[in-house]
């Protein structure tokens, strides 16, 4: 037990960079502003949390009037477990098999199950942080508004603490079995990608399955029958039902039965994972380390052919960015895959009739006002192209290799432009795939799609520059796992928040221009001019600050 706790403690400190943060803040007194920024960020999130509580209160009242109050818990638990499943599989795969500390951990006098248990503990803490804001407010609103007794609160805490255990342990079992059975040695990137795609497709079909195959009458029946909604969403994953019924009933029947079921199954699956770890973990890991590389010498002619092209510096940078991004699975998933997959998922949702938000979106687009149609479509295209981590992790992705960018004889301004072109290319792909979805799935005419795409492309240039500036201000270069550079990078979240803020400012500008009497082509042209001006200014500023920032970043 002491060995497990030591492993867990060290893994947690490594995961959250606690030692480095302590060194920087206390010893170097360097990143004090970061602590302040974090506190400000938390303060900034507070109004949103308050709003979320209010919305949940409203939802509770509506559900209660239909006799469906428990559905609030089921929905929150299901949403939390969905998030855990989506993020968890990546965490499990990279933590169990692809993290760089494995070679060190394997050499320690610790049993395989202890190593896996420590890694599981770290993923668990990460997952708590991922779902806390989604799940806990729902538990609080339900507990307060349903006037639950005191015994509800420890039970709610228990449900929250056990929430990630079943989906994560199942992911772990699946991953370990596959790593043992499939010879992944040289194909680990492919394996990671294929696994992720299977997961995303699975989630998509699960979502479609919730509503897609049911008639409106059937859906209505679910909404009107007592507890029907909870059953509808929970039938895909029974632990959601067990947990919500346990909270609804508490210690009176049938609560204890659900308590035993929920806790018992969680413990059983966790034990199964540890047992499997003892049998399978090291064998899969050793298989991965046995990398038989077949080297092939190139002929002199082939070698000369590979060196035949001399590229300009900005093209070399662009090509480097493209290759590094698309050959690192986690970067690829957050770049090109996301700008194609997200619109594709939207396409299938709209075609299947699932997803109330898409229906609402269709209504807005079908309102007959072409200007509104164009502007909303442009916002959708911008979301497809820019709400990903490509631009906002462009410097962070270089990690410990950033020294190369500092020593090469290419002006930072030109390096930044090469990087901009790469990020913008990904944004353009997103705008194009979004445009196709709007045309093919929503039936939007070309007369709306084309100006909307043009507006999105110009606004996309602006947001790409803004996102890059966020990362340039404080790139995360000390990562050991690429996941930290993009998925656990604060810059990506901050940039997304800024993007949403700027889209909102554009919306305010639209209202202002309409009040000023502009409409139709003149209004769209004015918006386009504003976006072009913003893009030009942001690009100029980005290029201008590049030299100063490159000099200050200590690689």
């Amino acid at each position: 037990m002491r060995r497990f706790l030591a492993l867990l403690g060290a893994s947690l400190r490594q995961n959250f960079g606690l030692a480095l943060l302590k060194y920087k803040v206390i010893k170097q007194r360097k990143d004090l502003w970061l602590v302040l920024l974090f506190a400000l960020g938390l303060a900034g999130v507070l109004p949103v949390v308050v709003l979320y509580f209010k919305v949940l209160g409203l939802v509770f009242s509506i559900l209660q009037s239909q006799g469906q109050a428990t559905a609030l818990l089921t929905l929150a638990i299901l949403a939390g477990q969905f998030l855990i499943l989506v993020f968890g599989l990546f965490y499990v795969l990279s933590a169990f098999y692809f993290s760089r500390d494995l070679e060190f951990l394997v050499s320690l006098p610790a049993r395989p199950f202890e190593v896996i248990a420590a890694k599981f503990g770290v993923i668990l803490v990460n997952e708590y942080l991922t779902v806390v804001l989604v799940v806990v407010p729902a538990f609080v609103v339900y507990g307060v508004m349903a006037a639950k007794p005191l015994s509800y609160w420890p039970l709610a805490a228990l449900v929250f603490l056990l929430l990630p255990v079943i989906p994560l342990a199942l992911s772990g079992l699946l991953v370990m079995a596959m790593m043992r059975l499939v010879n992944v040695s040289r194909k680990k990137d492919f394996f990671l990608l294929a696994g992720s795609l299977v997961l995303v497709t699975g989630v998509l079909f699960l979502q479609l399955g919730l509503a897609g195959n049911r008639s409106p009458e059937e859906l209505l029946k679910f909404f009107t029958a007592a507890d029907g909604l909870a059953r509808l969403v929970g039938e895909k994953f029974p632990p959601c039902i067990w947990a919500s019924r346990l909270l609804a009933s508490g210690f009176s029947a049938p609560g204890p039965g659900y308590l035993a079921l929920y806790v018992g199954v969680s413990i059983a699956v966790l034990l199964l994972l540890l047992l499997a770890a003892e049998k399978l973990f090291y064998r899969g890991l050793i298989g991965l380390a046995e990398m038989a590389v077949r080297r092939k010498k190139l002929s002199a002619a082939a070698l000369a052919g590979r060196f035949a092209n001399r590229r300009r510096a900005w093209r070399a940078i662009l090509l480097r960015e493209w290759k590094l991004m698309n050959r690192t699975p986690i970067f690829l998933l957050n770049g090109i895959f996301s700008v194609i997959l997200v619109p594709a998922m939207f396409f299938f949702m709209v075609r299947s009739g699932a997803g109330s938000s898409s229906i609402a979106f269709l209504k807005i687009l079908g309102s007959g006002n072409r200007t509104v149609e164009i502007l909303f479509a442009a916002a959708f295209f911008v979301a497809c192209g820019c709400l990903n981590g490509t631009a906002s992790s462009t410097f962070s992705r270089e990690g410990r290799n950033f020294w190369i960018s500092k020593v090469i004889p290419v002006a930072p301004r030109r390096q930044v432009m090469g990087k901009f072109l790469h990020s913008y290319l990904v944004a353009v792909l997103g705008v194009l795939s979004g445009s196709l979805v709007a045309k093919l799935a929503m039936g939007l005419g070309w007369k709306s799609v084309l100006p909307a795409a043009l507006l999105a492309l110009v606004a996309g240039a602006f947001l790409t520059a803004v996102n890059m500036a966020v990362d340039l201000a404080r790139p995360l270069l000390t990562w050991k796992s690429p996941q930290r550079a993009i998925k656990q990078n604060l810059n990506v979240l901050l940039a997304m928040a800024l993007d949403v803020g700027f889209v909102y400012l554009f919306y305010r500008l639209f209202l202002l221009l309409r009040r000023a009497g502009l409409n139709g082509a003149s209004l769209v042209s004015a918006m386009l001019a504003a976006a072009a001006l913003a893009a030009a200014i942001s690009l100029f500023l980005l290029a201008h600050i590049a030299a100063g920032r490159y000099a200050k970043i200590e690689a």
Partner: protein, 241 residues
Amino acid sequence: MIELRNVCKSYNKGAVRAVDDLTLAVPPGEIFGFLGPNGAGKTTTIKMIVGILAPDTGTIAIEGRDNRREPLACKAVTAYVPDSPEIYERLTGLEYLNFIADVYGVPARERAERAKRWLEVFELASAAADPIQTYSHGMRQKIVLSGALIVEPRVFVLDEPMTGLDPRSAHSLKQAMRAHCDRGGTLFFSTHVMEVAEKFCDRIAIIHRGRLSACGTLDELRRQAGESQSLEKIFLEMTGS
């Protein structure tokens, strides 16, 4: 030609003085060895020379140009190899060499000739088309060295270049560096291997706690410390606390 004048660099807001008033010059044609215990300020000095870190005070000139006022001109004539070969793992060896040749503007024909030569010298030809992530530590070190050599710069700055190299590759590197300096180029390199410094360097500097303890030819260092001492003994004497 590398010139450092009164260079200072501190960390933790002045609490740790990594380099303290360092002044030295490495003329063209000279192999200059930079020695010092761990944490003495060797890597910090090297990083300042190549522009990765900025000195707090003092100036650094490469081929007569200030590396902060004319950074691109200085970088264009300098190739650097770090102590740890951290490079783009997802590129192949060939792609890495092509990238370096592109950003340094090496003409296509010359880069092909040089790449062929160095890949063969370092026995990397059969691995060049594979991703760098499949390379061993030594192979990574060799591909970084090949990237530096493909540029054929006037100034080489190498931080512990022999670490991880097999004896044959280390020998080839030493020969190449000697030839480079004989053609009038400059080599500034750090090492922990006293034997290499003793046999290979024209001049040696010893840095201790950020300050220059000694600088000169091996004979000059011997005279300073007493007759017929080995470099190891001189080093231990000068860096003893």
